[in-house]
């Protein structure tokens, strides 16, 4: 039986302003696929629900996984998680969700697109995806970079910064257009306006795009129907025009979802 389990915190570091990286020792790592997420529990009984956090990277031997998350305001669950000390532990559930389809990009020109705290899952994807990879990521400014060097190891990296301090000035879509990036398939994770722009771009170019979505979530296993996204067609499981982000997603082909 799968269960909520305790994972040891191997390391826990603030890698950019308000952005934390945690390596967890857990058997869940051995089962994890890029684009999946884990539920992290705060350990505080006033904050009971899991925090869905995407899996950034998996250790080669499958014994540990890395998550990178934004701390958030004091009083939030992620803030409580950020207070956990290395060598202590947290309880987790997962891996959860479907993950990015690797086969869709194999041997092709793949464009990986990430914005802000949507960037982390691209690391394990870039690592495992056997394709000609171009990776476009957007940050607020050059002082805010994180995971850029990890990504550069697995593909050609294009940066965008809102303040123009490095790379293309503007957002990640500006970086894609300015650099004339061409692809056969797109994988993306980031804020909703970015995902909408990626969906539009993919539709114009007639290529598939796989978008990782997020939503407020309670159970993480498809039972509560809290985290749904509207779908273009009646979904085969729900039998209505929406799908569960936690289990039917979080990754959807752009044409499936109305965002």
């Amino acid at each position: 039986m799968k269960k909520r389990e305790r994972a040891k915190i191997l390391s826990h570091v603030e890698i950019a302003a308000d952005i934390f990286e945690m390596w967890l020792e857990t058997e869940a790592a051995g089962r994890a696929k890029p684009g999946q997420f884990i539920g992290v529990f705060t350990g505080d009984k006033s904050m009971l629900l899991l925090r869905p956090i995407s899996i950034c990277e998996v250790k080669e031997d499958g014994t540990a996984l890395r998550i990178v998350y934004r701390r958030g305001e004091p009083g939030t669950g992620t803030y409580a998680v950020s207070q956990c000390l290395p060598q202590s532990s947290v309880e987790i559930l997962g891996p959860l969700g479907n993950g990015f389809p690797l086969e869709a990009g194999e041997g092709k020109r793949a464009l990986l697109v990430g914005g802000g705290i949507g960037i982390p899952p691209l690391v394990e994807l870039a690592k495992r995806l056997d394709a000609k990879k171009q990776i476009a990521v957007g940050y607020r400014g050059s002082g805010q970079f994180f995971l850029d060097r990890d990504l550069a190891a697995w593909g050609e990296l294009f940066l965008a910064t809102e303040d123009g301090s490095s790379g293309t000035k503007g957002n990640v879509m500006d970086a894609i257009f300015r650099n004339g990036l061409e692809a056969d398939v797109i994988y993306a994770c980031g804020p909703m306006p970015m995902l909408r722009a990626v969906k539009e771009l993919a539709a114009q170019r007639g290529i598939p795009a796989y978008l990782s979505l997020e939503e407020r979530m309670a159970c993480g296993v498809g039972a509560c129907l809290g985290c749904v996204v509207k779908t273009e067609m009646v979904h085969h499981h729900t039998n209505v025009g929406n799908a569960r982000i936690c289990t039917d997603g979080p990754v959807f082909e752009a044409g499936e979802v109305s965002i």
Binding site: K2, L48, L49, E215, C219, C224, L225, T238, V240, N242
Partner: protein, 302 residues
């Protein structure tokens, strides 16, 4: 030790069930919970037609609990009977189907379809969802409306009927008596308590529906009180729920007068909660030499 209970002629191997809406149709938790261990799986509410539910955000966390405004999303009775019932039939647990509707006719249509399904042991009628505009709660907040719908459902039901009551009423005893007088075989309570959360950073309601149903450990004292008051008011059995996380919580509900209990929001927090609650009840019975779980029902000392 005997953990078996009987409600309206239906026996259950133990008094621990899943609260409707928190366990899907069992399928979603089958990899986490040995469904054979449960007293019953109470399914997510099902209606005559598929219902798409409310806009998102549909859930929000609050201190010691959560708010939800799912809006009774469900795939409709056809898909439910084709897919979910055959799945649940594979397990050695009772099946209780929760029924929702917008009109009396809607409820009756579903109740009649379920009457053909022998694997369904009982029906639970949702007249207490606070998150849909038509139906549901409209029948659950006035004693005469509750009486009418209960009578109509009883006329058509082949299985024993559990009426699920709302806590958002002035006098729970009056509601319990109305359901009993109309022929309900059992009651379940409490459904969620209407609540609200505002995100002060965005100055927006946390839920798209503005209001939602509060559940989780935060509501347990309210639920225990209402189960006690309902048990004092009627003779029919009561299934108690509201924030149950442990065997001790479950025992508290039994002592207050519940014949069985349901685990709700805590399934989300730890998918193993139901099995832990069953174990906890057994440990309590062992420690205090309780022969039959029935001996605990209503056994609080006055």
């Amino acid at each position: 030790m005997n953990t078996q209970i009987t409600i309206a002629g239906v026996t259950f191997q133990n008094p621990v069930m899943t609260a409707s809406g928190t366990f899907g149709s069992g399928m979603e938790y089958a990899e986490y919970v040995d469904l054979n261990r449960l007293g019953a799986v109470v399914t997510k509410g099902v209606a005559k037609e598929p219902w798409p539910g409310n806009p998102t955000p549909r859930v929000a966390e609050v201190y010691g609990g959560m708010l939800n405004a799912i809006g009774l999303q469900n795939p409709g009775i056809d898909v439910f009977l084709e897919r979910d019932i055959p799945f649940l039939k594979q397990y050695d647990t009772r099946i209780i189907v929760n029924v929702c509707g917008k009109t009396v006719e809607d409820y009756v249509a579903v109740v009649e379809r379920l009457g053909e399904e022998a694997a369904v042991s009982m029906l639970e009628i949702n007249v207490s969802c606070p998150n849909v505009k038509e139906g549901a709660i409209a029948f659950g907040q006035k004693a005469d409306a509750l009486y009418q719908i209960t009578r109509e459902i009883k006329r058509h039901a082949r299985q024993p009927v559990i009426m699920k009551l709302s806590p958002n009423v002035t006098d729970i005893g009056e509601m319990a008596r109305a359901a009993e007088a109309a022929g309900a075989d059992a009651l379940s309570l409490i459904n969620t308590i209407t609540g609200m959360k505002i995100d002060i950073y965005k100055r927006k309601f946390a839920l798209a529906n503005k209001t939602g149903g509060l559940s989780g450990p935060a509501i347990k004292p309210v639920a225990v009180r209402m189960v006690y008051q309902a048990a004092q008011a009627v003779k029919i059995p009561i299934i108690g729920m509201g924030g149950i996380a442990t065997g001790e919580d479950a025992v508290e509900f039994l002592l207050a007068g519940a014949s069985a209990v349901s685990v709700g929001a805590m399934n989300f927090v730890d998918p193993g909660t139901t099995e832990k609650v069953i174990q906890g009840i057994e440990q309590y019975m062992e420690r205090f030499h309780v022969e039959r779980v029935d001996d605990l029902v209503g056994a609080v000392l006055e």
